[in-house]
Amino acid sequence: MLLESVLTGAVRGGTSILFPTIGEVIAERSGVVNLGTEGCMLTGALTAYAVGIETGSAWLGVLAGVAAGGALAALHAFMVITRKSNQIATGLVITFLALGLTSLFGQDYVGQGVNALEPVSIPGLADLPFFGPVLFDHDVLTYASFAAGPLAWWVLFRTRIGMTVRAAGERPEVLEAFGTSPALVRYGAVIVGGMLAGLGGAQLSTAFTLNWSENMTVGRGFVAVALVIFAAWDPRKAMAGAYLFSGSISLQLQLQARGSGISRYLLEAVPYLAVIAVLVLLSSRRRHAGPESLSRVI
């Protein structure tokens, strides 16, 4: 069944985009754009892979991937918040740094077998026709990702911490007046964002592709930044965006396998074009949806 295969692939492949998208929503809600998300993902992917192999524990690998993504994001935060460097340029430098570091330290891991995060079928539910494979036969991080969007939304919009983060992005001067440092809040939000990007990268290498190769994220982190606009800075809508991208990857793979008459090389452009197309369609409605102090940056 085409639909079943496409959706199963979309869900499994979407996890690695969903976490970074939610992370970037949090960072941007605090007023910081992080194009280094791509780099945080890549670093998370290699770190999880390498630590997983070295320690023999996939979960230690995932933890290390999260920490690595957070560490790289902390560097971005230091540059743009403390040193006041340009956010866009710095984000790209961070990604470039990650490309170099993962090339330098990943060399020996190319082609090595991974300590994989195995899929865990949910007893009973996994045998359901259609819904079983699509929803209930995945790795644990994918199950966690189902809850991540609503949870991030709840924290951002229903808790005091979330309100503080949003205030840092909308009216930092008000926050300042109440005795909370917007800089500190932004540090926190950017680092959490990087940790989620690292988590996405970890899922990508240890549960999805099951290998490491240079620049293996091929723009997924940049796509995550694009999907933040699609999601109108709402973590709940991030899921739709992530599955749109991974679904078009999975669809084009199915079309390749079944022979569509279109070159399989050209089909690979479909996911990127799909993201651009939805952004174009939504742009006029999204222009004022972003946090106010973000527009001062871009």
């Binding site: 194009l35 560097l75 230091f78 540059m79 040193r83 006041k84 460097s85 340009n86 866009i88 340029a89 710095t90 790209l92 430098v93 961070i94 990604t95 470039f96 740094l97 490309l99 170099g100 570091l101 993962t102 090339s103 330098l104 330290f105 990943g106 060399q107 240079e214 091929v218 723009g219 940049f222 796509v223 930044v225 694009a226 606009i229 070159s263 090389y265 050209l266 690979e268 452009a269 990127y272 074009l273 993201v275 651009i276 952004l279 174009v280 369609l281 742009s283 006029s284 222009r287 871009i298």
Partner: protein, 349 residues
């Protein structure tokens, strides 16, 4: 090369401080790079010596650095021109690649029927046009739909790379290529002449001349002045009655054309054929070069030579130590971090 207008109001102690900060940024980035190299079990001093020797060690090394700096310079100008109007062009990667595609396409169309000079001019125009279309697309989406050009130019890079791969594997595949796919080699009339040494081609000089022309256009023409006003304060530009849409679109299109020309020069001067991964990384490095130069076309020459030298140094590093070729990207990134966060701190942008 110190920008006369930017520096004129700066007092002597500030200037000394600026030199000190820049030096500290460079030394600091070399130091941190050395730490990473040591962490991989190689001698940092040997590594840095290998990079410097292969980048500037002898005449051939200098030539190679100039060759690598050439697409970087044009790619940097492609960032600098839109940046004057306050736009981000992060699509240099795709615009360079499609410039190479346009040039190869034109060469194949002519099929050796035109004289060398005419062939090269037409290839340059085709490459520039392809780059311009790619950047112009992002500009039009921005002006018509309000789609953020940072995102579109970035994502279009991946689409451009896919187009190159498709061409090389399917319609333009050289039947003689077996494992590695590439296009048929360009005929002799489609190759830029070598001007000195074994490899330094005419494109190096062309790029330098273009950097000077772009500097003149930005600094001395009304169009350049308007771009700067717009970049500094879009509202002021609008009130002054500038055609804002035309200006910003024009800046992006010119930027894309410059990067496209860079792609043509690479394929006609160095590669001689299209292959997957041609110029990969050059667009992003060029973006960093433009920031290093604070979007000044003349300083961009120095920035491109520096980053081009580091790319060449990467080959030397790989031979001397076995470290991966991408390792020098770390050095480039560290220099940029030092410069963006410390050396340029509080300087006018």
């Amino acid at each position: 090369m110190s920008g006369t207008t930017a520096m004129s109001g700066v007092s002597v102690p500030d200037r000394v401080g600026s030199v000190a900060r820049w030096s500290a940024a460079f030394v600091g980035s070399l130091f941190v790079f050395g730490l990473f190299v040591a962490a991989r079990g190689e001698d940092p001093i040997d590594a840095i010596r290998a990079i410097i020797e292969s980048a500037v060690g002898d005449a051939d090394a200098l030539g190679e650095t100039a060759i690598r700096a050439t697409p970087l310079l044009l790619g940097a100008l492609a960032v600098a021109v839109p940046a004057r109007a306050g736009l981000f062009n992060i699509g240099g990667e795709g615009q360079l690649a499609l410039g190479a595609v346009g040039a190869v396409g034109m060469s194949q169309m002519l099929g050796g029927s035109a004289p060398t000079f005419v062939t090269l001019i037409l290839m340059a125009l085709a490459g520039a046009a392809a780059g311009a279309v790619w950047a112009g697309g992002a500009a039009v989406l921005r002006e018509v739909f309000g789609t953020n050009e940072i995102i579109t130019t970035l994502l279009l890079n991946y689409v451009a790379a896919i187009i190159v791969t498709w061409l090389v594997f399917e319609p333009w595949k050289d039947p003689a290529s077996l494992g590695q796919a590439y296009s048929v080699e360009l005929d002799g009339r489609s190759r830029l002449p070598v001007i000195t040494g074994n490899r330094v081609h005419l494109g190096v000089i062309v790029a330098l001349l273009i950097a000077v022309v772009i500097w003149l256009v930005l600094a001395r023409t009304r169009w350049g002045f308007r771009l700067r006003v717009l970049g500094g304060n879009p509202e002021a530009g609008r009130r002054a009655g500038f055609g804002v849409v035309g200006l910003t679109t024009g800046a992006m299109v010119l930027g894309g054309a410059l990067a496209g020309l860079g792609g043509m020069i690479e394929v006609a001067g160095v590669e001689g054929r299209l292959r997957p991964g041609i110029l990969v990384g050059f667009g992003y490095t060029a973006f960093l070069a433009s920031w290093l130069a604070k979007h000044d076309p003349l300083r961009a020459i120095a920035a491109s030579l520096l980053l081009g030298g580091i790319i060449v140094g990467g080959f030397g590093l790989k031979i001397a130590t076995g470290l991966s070729g991408g390792a020098v990207d770390v050095l480039t990134a560290l220099i940029l971090l030092g410069v963006l966060g410390f050396a340029q701190f509080r300087e006018a942008i």
